[in-house]
């Protein structure tokens, strides 16, 4: 068994600088802050740029469907940058989670058509389940009569940006997934903890749906998508954590009190050293998950739960330290630290909480809970 490569390849380094360059120019923190006051105008251009101009929505789509035929490794590179700039882009929800549902082995021709549209950056999809839902659990389903879908889904991420919703439906032979036009659903924006990834409540009343994953294969397809999502969300969390660490260290090298640079006080140096260790560890865990997913390695499931349980906490730790160590300015609306805190805390709950991922590890490695 050869060891998974945890270092970026030259191509991945190129991709990183392309995405970083784009986001530095086109994703402005002031505009993200405005999203909390109801101005969502920043969201469209960022996503159009990432998906359309840079073609990143095509990463996980195979070449024969007009995709880039890349892997989870490349998606992880993008997500790390997305996290580093709290970009309001539905890359995770559309280009990773929804795309993975449509990539299921049993997916229909309609799914393949949809994948072409996603890859081209012409369409955006969202899986209609609460953002807190993780793999391994029962998926909340809607009801269908023929091809007419009715039901509700709350706290769905990426739905505001999506033009197509992937809806799990309880069918006779098991769960199926149907694609429904977002325009045929009632999509109500939710005042969310993280407005840079604003949630929505969905309500469908006899909306027309098209089967993308047939009955019986839906649960597995969704599970795989939620697992992949959690594994790659870890890279976004690493991006958040790394930004917080860097920004805080830079600030503490400048800020003076008691006639000294505050970053020279040992109490703070030690906290930052511990944070550095946590961020580096999270980085390794996230890369391992991405590499294992990309290689379809036998260890992939464990690798995902490991990264998901570790990186979520590390990002929250980093964001909380960033606020505290900036002092009063860290508490302001003006300073971007809160954007990262809100992203980190929401992401920690998303796609399965850390405790759920640890429980899954307990089952996978034979460390059973007490009877």
């Amino acid at each position: 068994m050869s060891e998974l490569n945890l270092l970026p390849t030259p191509d991945e380094d190129d991709l990183r600088s392309t995405v970083a360059g784009f986001l530095a120019k086109r994703c402005d923190t002031a505009a993200i802050r405005d999203m909390y006051d109801g101005d969502r105008s920043a969201a469209g251009p960022v996503w159009r740029g990432l998906a359309g101009e840079l073609g990143l929505a095509a990463l996980l789509v195979p070449e024969e469907l007009g995709g880039a035929g890349a892997s989870a490794r490349e998606a992880a590179v993008v997500l790390e940058q997305v996290g580093g700039s709290v970009a309001p882009a539905p890359f995770l929800t559309s280009a990773v989670v929804a795309t993975t549902v449509l990539l299921a082995a049993d997916a229909t021709d309609a799914a393949r058509d949809l994948l072409r549209g996603l890859a081209a950056g012409e369409r955006t999809a969202a899986l209609a389940v609460p953002f807190s839902a993780g793999s391994g659990g029962a998926v909340p389903t809607m009801a269908a009569e023929g091809d007419r879908v009715s039901g509700q889904a709350t706290s769905v991420a990426g739905a505001l940006e999506a033009d197509v919703l992937l809806v799990p439906v309880a069918a006779d032979g098991g769960v199926a997934v149907l694609a429904v036009r977002a325009a045929d659903a009632t999509v109500v924006p939710v005042e969310s903890l993280d407005m840079s990834r604003q949630l929505a409540d969905l309500s469908l009343e006899g909306a027309a749906g098209e089967v993308v994953v047939p009955a019986g294969a839906g649960a597995a397809a969704i599970d795989r998508a939620l697992l992949t999502g959690a594994g790659l969300l870890a890279s976004e969390q690493v991006g958040v954590a790394a930004w917080c660490l860097l920004t805080t260290v830079a600030y503490l090298k400048e800020r003076r009190q008691f006639g000294r640079v505050v970053g020279g006080f040992q109490a703070l140096k030690h906290r930052l050293a511990d944070l550095y260790v946590a961020v580096e560890s999270a980085n390794a865990a996230a890369r391992y998950a991405a590499a294992a997913l990309a290689a379809d390695d036998a260890d992939a499931e464990l690798a995902v739960h490991l990264a998901a349980s570790y990186c979520g906490d590390a990002a929250v730790q980093a964001a909380e330290e960033a606020v505290q160590l900036h002092g009063g300015i860290g508490m302001t609306w003006e300073h971007p630290a809160h954007l990262y805190l809100k992203r980190a805390k929401s992401a920690q709950i998303a796609l399965g909480a850390a405790g759920a991922h640890r429980d899954a590890i307990g089952r996978l490695v034979d460390l059973p809970a007490p009877d």
Binding site: A284, V365, D366
Partner: protein, 399 residues
């Protein structure tokens, strides 16, 4: 040319070694010497020095293949200081003659090494050390006292840092030596540890003579050489390649599986958290080694060692709680009896021993506080600790 060796070539080379030296029929030492001479001791070392100049991470292939064939190993726990600290320093700073003389018997375990760095007055502040080395013809005369010296009682040689210029500021007046522990001026006395054993010692050096040919690096360059040793030490302590559940976490996991009656929700939550952290640390080590495949360990090794120490302590503490009544007993090995072990084994003996021995992990090789300073200053670039002694001649500095 060795650069063209593939992993497959390496595999064949190991098979060749095994074919020519049947491990079941060959004397242990003869086998180890043959392995060294075949460049299979540490494949990332240069040709002629027990290696083949190959990437560091290929080495585990060799270990695996030899272990499968039942080949004897060089008992790394007995010679950890030689392998992890003395050898990389001799490789980096030694003359060809020094490398030729010392590396082979070091690796085969014929000559055990110890580390004469710490002193009663100089621990974290190692550069303040007071042991003196004075020029005497083609050699040096050393006087002073060292302390906490692991394996001094089994060692044939020591890496030693001594002050050669008391008029220079403290970091600049040091020189690094290779010291013969059989010199009549070397007096080793056991120091009993909280485990009951005496793994470390105090070492008195009285008119010890060291030929100048056993100086490592230039006169006055001792701090630079010692820093290389310490960086390697941290990687050696915190960054050794491990299989999943290798080390302390494996012990606790095994106990969890063996004792269903002892399971509680509290222990389960803590175990899973620590299991995750240990596995993430293992993967971080893997990533660090991939990064270092070409380079030398830098301050990042300090981060690995910080995590290693914390986890070893938390895991061994959890293990005692998990064992309940059994955790109250301290019986394995020879209980509290004072023995002088010939190897350092963090995961040896029973859970009580492991718990106590792990306390040393955040002290030896640089305390966790000092390592945090190193990470903060050398990795994150935060300001250094305020100090009064940096540019003053050592002999005038406040100690």
């Amino acid at each position: 040319m060795t650069e063209q060796l593939t992993r497959e070539d390496l595999r064949r080379r190991v098979a060749g070694l095994l074919a020519e030296n049947d491990p079941q029929a060959t004397d242990r030492l003869a086998f180890l010497r043959a392995r060294y001479d075949a460049g299979l001791a540490w494949v990332h070392y240069p040709v002629g020095r027990g290696g083949l100049g190959l990437p560091r991470e290929w080495h585990s292939d060799v270990e695996r293949q030899l272990a499968e064939a039942g080949a004897p190993d060089n008992e790394p726990r007995r010679i950890g200081i030689g392998l992890g600290m003395a050898a990389p320093t001799i490789l980096a700073f030694g003359t060809p003659e020094q490398q030729e003389r010392f590396l082979r018997p070091l690796w085969t375990g014929e000559e055990v090494w110890c580390q004469l760095f710490s002193e009663p007055g100089a621990g974290s502040d190692l550069a303040g050390l007071a042991t003196r080395a004075v020029r005497d013809g083609d050699g040096w005369i050393v006087n002073g006292q060292k302390v906490w010296t692991s394996s001094a009682h089994t060692a044939r040689f020591a890496i030693l840092v001594a002050r050669t210029d008391p008029d220079a500021p403290k970091h600049r007046g040091l020189t690094y030596f290779l010291c013969d522990m059989t010199d009549p001026g070397v007096d080793v006395r056991p120091l009993r540890q909280l485990t009951g054993e005496a793994e470390f010692n105090e070492v008195f050096l009285t008119d010890v003579r060291i030929p100048d040919s056993q100086r490592l690096g230039a006169e006055g360059e001792g701090w630079k050489v010692a820093t290389a040793t310490l960086n390697n030490e941290r990687v050696a302590i915190g960054g050794t390649p491990m299989p999943r559940e290798g080390g302390m976490v494996g012990k606790v996991a095994a106990d969890w599986r063996a004792h269903p009656e002892a399971r509680t929700h509290d222990l389960h939550q803590r175990l899973l958290r620590l299991w995750v952290e240990a596995e993430v640390a293992r993967i971080s080590g893997m990533r660090l080694r991939q990064k270092l495949a070409v380079g030398r360990p830098g301050p990042e090794g300090a981060a690995m060692k910080l995590t290693f120490a914390r986890l070893a302590q938390h895991l061994s503490g959890l293990e005692l709680e998990l064992l309940g009544e059994e955790g109250l007993r301290y019986e394995s090995g020879r209980g509290w009896e004072m023995v002088r072990p010939d190897k350092v084994d963090f995961t040896g003996r029973d859970a009580g021993y492991r718990y106590l021995r792990a306390k040393g992990n955040s002290i030896e090789g640089g305390t966790s506080e000092i390592l945090r300073n190193i990470v903060a200053e050398r990795v994150l670039g935060l300001p250094a600790e305020p100090r009064t002694d940096k540019d003053v001649p050592w002999k005038e500095s406040v100690r």
